[in-house]
Amino acid sequence: MKSPVEQRLSDALHDIVDTQPFEPDPAAIERRGRRLQRRAVTVRIAGTGVAAAAVAVAVGAMVIPDVPGSQSTALPATHQTTPTTGTSAAQQPLVRLADYLKTAPKPTGDATLVMRDQNYPSTGLRVVAWDLYGDDGTYYFARTRAGLPAQVVGHKSRGEGIFGREVAAAEYAATGDLNTARDEMADAPTNPGDPKAISRTNDKSLIDNWVWEDSLDALTAGAGNPVVRAGVLRLLSTLSEVTVTDTTTTGQATLTLTDTEPVVKDGPKSSSGYTEALCINADTGVPVTFHGGDQAQSPGIDINYEVSRVTLADVAAGTF
């Protein structure tokens, strides 16, 4: 039971705010939430070492000197020198590289080993993690290279099969119908049997965002397979928000793909344009570096990747 004073205060507060309209932007909220989720998982790995969700992190970027057993021949094509956007014509560097990669021979080995060197400029924190992606869809994680054999021997595969589905979607995208491939990639994280996420939205920018994020996962998980890289590049060439720029990274010719989050409606303070930039080797499509962060805020995260091909048997035996 409120006193008269309390009731008058309550009435006054309601009167101040009750007529103010507000329409949330669910797509922007989800995009922001997913990015927070990813950052959080990355940091969790830094702090505690594991978590099944660690899987989600693998997103980033990579610096890769080489991928044994995969392509190494320089592309015959000439790269564009100015940023280009979105249409299939404008994304020609990606399409051209994809065309080249999809006929490249599959490398030896049955797994891709990725070393993730993550740096957080705002705090000085550095985290190194090791990801092992089996061609059979398994995924193993360890804080150190030496920790991987126990994970494989113990069959401690993580990721709920998400990476396997993302890689499969990318393989299909290499030569398949791109619209179907986009749907497959956007819905790869959905558990088999669950309702398709894309059936619940017509928001193209949201689906594009899913394709972008899942494709980056696939590019990491399938970094050792040129067909997977080809499929990812074809998928990324469909994203109108993504710009492609010729760059040089640690002495190698690279392409930098940049995806900038639209500023949240009426909310420049909460979203100053979160940007993710993936740098790939211009001749191989292998990821080299990744950067994520708000344009006008803290530097976010920088990741360097080193990729190699191994066999699960060798890893289990500790001879990789």
Binding site: L13, I16, V17, F22, Q37, A56, R200, G267, K269, S270
Partner: protein, 166 residues
């Protein structure tokens, strides 16, 4: 990596406006309130499975929102007062046979310590009980009582000084 399900979207649709009202009374700026709500809901997305398992998802997201508002206030403690308060000159309805200016009331509210302000907003805008308020603020019911009493006393003093009594 799973998509938010329909339940999350329904949650956003149903809670966004009430959260927006709370956010405004915590910060005094409608645009900042937009930002705080979007950020709070994004963080809710991040913790959605945990939120779903919480006794009260509603209390959970309110706590996130209040923490966001407090975080923003700490970062901008030397900033100029919110512009929306000065711009709003429409009088509120009669309180005790006298007209209370919205600007004065919001300014008085913003002058309260953060926890007292949050207590007032939850108790008198959201009509939450002392127990429910304590659950959101993660404190005891006794603390809610004392914070409420202090806040009401401060508000009455401030508004009386402005000749706008509660």
């Amino acid at each position: 990596m799973r998509r938010p399900d329909d339940e999350y979207r329904e949650f956003v649709e149903s809670r966004a406006r009430p959260l927006h009202r709370i956010a405004y009374l915590l910060c005094g700026d409608w645009h900042l309130a937009n930002d705080l709500v979007q950020e709070a809901l994004a963080k809710t997305f991040r913790h959605w499975r945990k939120v779903q398992r919480a006794d009260s998802p509603d209390a959970y997201v309110k706590r996130i929102l209040i923490n966001e508002a407090n975080r923003h206030a700490r970062r901008h403690r030397n900033a100029a007062p919110p512009t929306d308060v000065a711009a709003e000159e429409t009088p509120a309805p009669d309180l005790s046979n006298r007209v209370v200016d919205r600007e004065v009331l919001v300014r008085a509210l913003l002058s309260l310590p953060a926890r007292q302000r949050a207590t007032v907003v939850l108790r008198y805008l959201e009509d939450m009980s002392e127990r429910e308020t304590a659950a959101v603020l993660k404190c005891g019911e006794g603390t809610v009582k004392s914070q409420t009493a202090r806040a009401l006393g401060t508000l009455k003093n401030l508004l009386n000084r402005e000749e706008l009594p509660l």
